[in-house]
């Protein structure tokens, strides 16, 4: 992909709640196929930043551009139509449907069949739904009610749903939160692999530094609403300010396991 037109361009994003500046003048960009991690301690403004990118939250100032198109102030559903997939920190799925039907709803929406009153939804694009589930290793669960899935499986299902509209950009808010350590690594490896194959840009927030340092091409660090560092994993790791924030507050290496950490 050319460097000329970045996939996502964020410029001077600002949001405050009352007197609290949650996000202050954050700017960064993301290329196709690149995996960018947004990290920072609790309350740094990661989730606020995220919600502004996909339209759930309206910024006070600043711009978000997707493939050159201004998306600031657009609704989440409009931004989704532009090719942005999203997974949530706390999973949001359709609990009364089966796993496959969850994916099918996204496919129905992608195929602009939402107001089709006569077709059969359970038979809608079944093959594609199963293919997506296979991609995330959930094909075996296709007919299970979504409400009885384990949390890690729900996260994988969310990834399948997020891929249903052939996105150019994936926004993943703490994709591995609440998962077992082994599952975390697997899910992120899977995401990274899919992203590289389809040249999807991925922006994710994460607390697990093993996950971040193994998979991120680039890292941006947020603290108290401002961007304090940006660069390759090695650069960010060596950044004294970042070290101060993390080591000073003792948040780094929470799990202590390092099986996947890059050298």
């Amino acid at each position: 992909m050319s460097v000329a037109s970045p996939l996502l361009e964020v410029e001077g994003l600002t949001k405050s709640y009352g007197g609290i500046h949650a996000v202050r003048g954050v700017s960064f960009s993301l290329r196709s196929g690149e995996i960018l991690a947004l990290i920072g301690p609790n309350g740094a403004g990661k989730s606020t930043c995220f919600d502004m990118l996909n339209g759930q939250n309206r910024p006070d100032a600043g711009h978000v551009r997707l493939l050159g198109e201004e998306t600031t102030g657009k609704k989440p559903r409009e931004i989704w139509r532009l090719g942005v997939g999203r997974t949530f920190q706390i999973t949001a799925t359709f609990a009364t449907m089966t796993v496959r039907e969850n994916v099918q709803v996204a496919l129905i929406s992608h195929g602009k069949q939402l107001f089709n009153l006569w077709g059969s939804a359970p038979r809608f694009d079944r093959g594609e739904a199963v293919r997506l589930l296979e991609l995330v290793g959930m094909a075996g669960y296709a007919d299970r009610p979504c409400g009885e899935l384990a949390y890690g499986d729900l996260k994988r299902l969310e990834l399948a749903v997020a891929l249903a509209n052939e996105p150019k950009l994936l926004l993943m808010d703490e994709p591995t939160a609440g998962m077992a350590p082994r599952e975390r690594v697997e899910l992120m490896r899977l995401t990274a692999q899919i992203a590289k194959e389809k040249s999807i840009g991925v922006l994710f927030t994460e607390h697990d530094m093993d996950v971040v340092f193994e998979h991120a091409d680039r890292i941006i660090v947020l603290n108290r609403g401002t961007l304090i560092a940006e660069g390759s994993p090695a650069e960010v790791r060596g950044n004294p300010q970042v070290q101060a924030i993390y080591l000073g507050e003792g948040l780094l290496y929470e799990g202590g396991h390092r099986e996947g950490a890059s050298a």
């Binding site: 009364t96 709803v105 992608h110 939804a121």
Partner: protein, 629 residues
């Protein structure tokens, strides 16, 4: 001028009683999330018991003691109800408690007639407040002045109770987040019971204090419950101050509305409620409701289309139903037609409520609009029956398009209340616009043409339409649109994140449901040969809710089965016993306690168990057949 002042004071006096009842309802809802339909019934029992006690004991002590004693006695009944009935259904599907308390209300209505007789009872004047105060030539009953003072006093006491006592702190905490209160080790059982007792006490006190002003009668529960719902919604659910302000507002609207806008006096209150809900959905003093946590008992039983065997069974049931005219007489056929029409009505609400998660409390509006649509076309334009049947429901469609647009902006209880307000507005128009609608006298002489006039022909017509409507809606449930609608119900966040415009989907569903209800109403007009404001009334809306809940709100066929069982039982009971409400109410309460998933839900559970115990492969019979009778 003096006249207006007196009118204002009369309004204030009415507000006192209304406030007592409304604050009780508000507290109960805030903590237990139960929409207590029986609140009006408790109000009524309070009035009846107070009547008996004040008649028996003489003197000032006898009167005031009787009033308080009556309220305490009813509170005790309330505790009993909470412990025996409500405790079992706190975890039932949302709104299922409404069905249980509705059953109670039905029972109470018959019980009070059984005990106190059907006549209006005029109680004693309050000792010490028998006279009237002269105000520039106008008389103000001194009892009214007492009530005007009482309202703020009770408000003050409640405020102290909630701000200064440990119990009050717990209640406020539970109103905000009851899961957290439970997690902090508070015994929820007793908190809920005590809250229910206090709420019921307030309702009964409100009723008891009414006896010097109004006669006690056995229909006072329904009148008050509607007004109280309005008050609580305008004031904000869970807010005591809001209940007070709204009670004053509503009472004054009633007092002055009749003077200033006599033509639309009944609408006025509902108009205000609709405006408040649209502008401030959580009421004047309420707070926006925090996102509810997922109910732990959420159904994990995905819906599926009927298998071909089940389809055959449904078809067989339809054929059997169609053969009814061969064996049954005219009366049975008329009953059959009515049941078929109510199946249409119930499945239309089911589509909105079960598939869309939008429980409308005013669905009868669209049923009635369809009926009036037919009446207008047939009587005024003189159009042939077929044309009337095709075009009449369009009135329901238009009503649903206008009201639905506003209603779907809200959700949950607020949606329910806004739909109720709209239904009442339509009802008031039908009731008060006499020159067009005939008012209370309705429109008579809407008879079917010759080809459909005989009971058997009309029965086949109703059955056929009911079957078509049921099939069409069922197809929609499993269509992409139906899935999108369910998606908005299951998770607003996720559906928005996959490009679904929830409001547009829900609005469309509302219009579909309203039009379908209109089809039922159109047939109903021809069945009865007349149209009345009651066809848009609250009790009809409640009937629809009961039918869906009885059948099972989490099931696909619940609407059909619920309508058949409820309507058949209802008609049969009325013909068999004078105490039909008592029996029907008892039956509903029993269903609620024993089968909290509804009839179809229970059958599904039974079928599942059988499937699990039998070897795989023999799992054909899963769901009850669905006939269109």
């Amino acid at each position: 001028m003096a006249f207006y002042v007196v009118q204002f004071l009369t309004g204030l006096a009415s507000a006192a009683s209304l406030f007592l009842v409304a604050s009780g309802l508000s507290i109960i809802f805030g903590v237990t999330r139960i929409v207590n339909f029986a609140h009006g019934a408790f109000y009524m029992i309070g009035a009846y018991i107070a009547f008996t006690l004040t008649e028996r004991f003489s003197g000032a002590f006898g009167f005031w003691g009787g009033v308080v004693l009556a309220a305490l006695a009813v509170a005790l009944i309330g505790v009993l109800v909470e412990m025996v009935l409500l405790r079992r259904i706190y975890h039932a599907p949302e709104l299922f408690q409404l069905l249980g308390t509705f059953g109670l209300t039905l029972m109470v209505e018959d019980l009070v007639v059984l005990i106190w007789g059907p006549d209006d009872l005029v109680g004693r004047r309050a000792p010490g407040f028998k006279g009237a105060v002269d105000f520039f030539g106008q008389n103000i009953p001194s009892y009214d002045l007492f009530l005007i003072v009482l309202g703020p006093v009770v408000l003050g006491i409640l405020w102290l109770l909630f701000q200064r006592t440990r119990w009050g702190v717990l209640v406020r905490a539970a109103t905000q987040d009851r899961d957290m209160v439970a997690a902090l080790g508070v015994n929820q059982k007793w908190l809920f019971t005590s809250v229910f007792a206090v709420g019921v006490f307030l309702a009964a006190l409100g009723g008891a204090l009414q006896i010097p002003r109004d006669a006690v009668h056995h229909a006072m529960d329904l009148r008050i419950i509607v007004e109280v719902f309005v008050v609580v919604v305008i004031g904000g659910l869970g807010s005591i101050v809001g209940a007070f302000v709204a009670a004053v507002l509503v009472s004054e609207l009633n007092a002055f509305g009749i003077l200033i806008f006599p033509k639309i006096s009944i609408i006025l209150v509902f108009l205000v409620m609709a405006v408040v809900l649209i502008v401030r959905p959580w009421g004047l003093f309420g707070k926006p409701e925090a996102a509810a946590r997922k109910t732990p008992g959420l159904s994990v039983n995905p819906w599926r289309p009927l298998t071909s065997n089940e389809r055959l069974a449904a078809l067989a049931a339809l054929v059997v139903a169609a053969m009814l005219p061969l064996v049954a007489g005219n009366y049975a056929l008329t009953v059959g037609s009515e049941i078929a029409i109510f199946v249409i009505f119930a499945v239309s609400l089911h589509f909105l409520m079960s598939v869309g998660g939008l429980a409308s409390f005013g669905h009868a509006a669209y049923f009635g609009l369809g009926a009036y649509g037919v009446a207008f076309l047939a009587k005024m334009a003189g159009l042939p029956m077929i044309v009337c049947l095709l075009l009449g429901p369009l009135l329901g469609c238009m009503g649903a398009a206008v009201f639905g647009f506003f209603a779907v902006q809200l959700s949950g209880v607020y949606f329910a209340m806004l739909t109720l307000a709209f239904a009442q507005i339509v009802w008031s128009i039908a009731f008060q616009w006499v020159s067009v609608t005939g008012g209370d006298n309705g429109i008579l002489g809407v008879w079917p043409e010759k080809w459909a006039a005989s009971p058997s022909h009309f029965y086949w017509l109703a059955l056929g339409v009911a079957a078509l409507v049921t099939i069409a809606l069922r197809v929609m449930v499993f269509s992409p649109f139906g899935y999108a609608l369910r998606a908005t119900r299951d998770s607003v966040l996720r559906s928005e994140a996959v490009g679904i415009d929830a409001k547009r989907i829900q609005w469309t569903a509302f219009v579909i449901a309203g039009t379908t209800a209109g089809i039922g109403g159109a047939l109903f007009a021809y069945l009865k040969g007349s149209v009345f404001p009651d066809n848009l009334g609250i009790s009809l809306s409640v009937d629809a809710l009961v039918m869906v809940l009885l059948g099972g709100v989490e099931t696909v066929s619940g609407g059909v089965i619920g309508a058949i069982v409820y309507k058949a039982l209802n008609i049969w009971l009325v013909s068999q016993t004078d105490l039909s409400k008592l029996v029907l109410g008892g039956f509903i309460v029993l269903i609620v306690v024993v089968f909290p998933k509804g009839i179809v839900g229970m059958l599904e559970i039974l079928a599942q168990r059988r499937r699990k115990s039998s070897p795989p492969g023999s799992s054909l019979l899963a769901k009850p057949i669905e006939s269109a009778e």
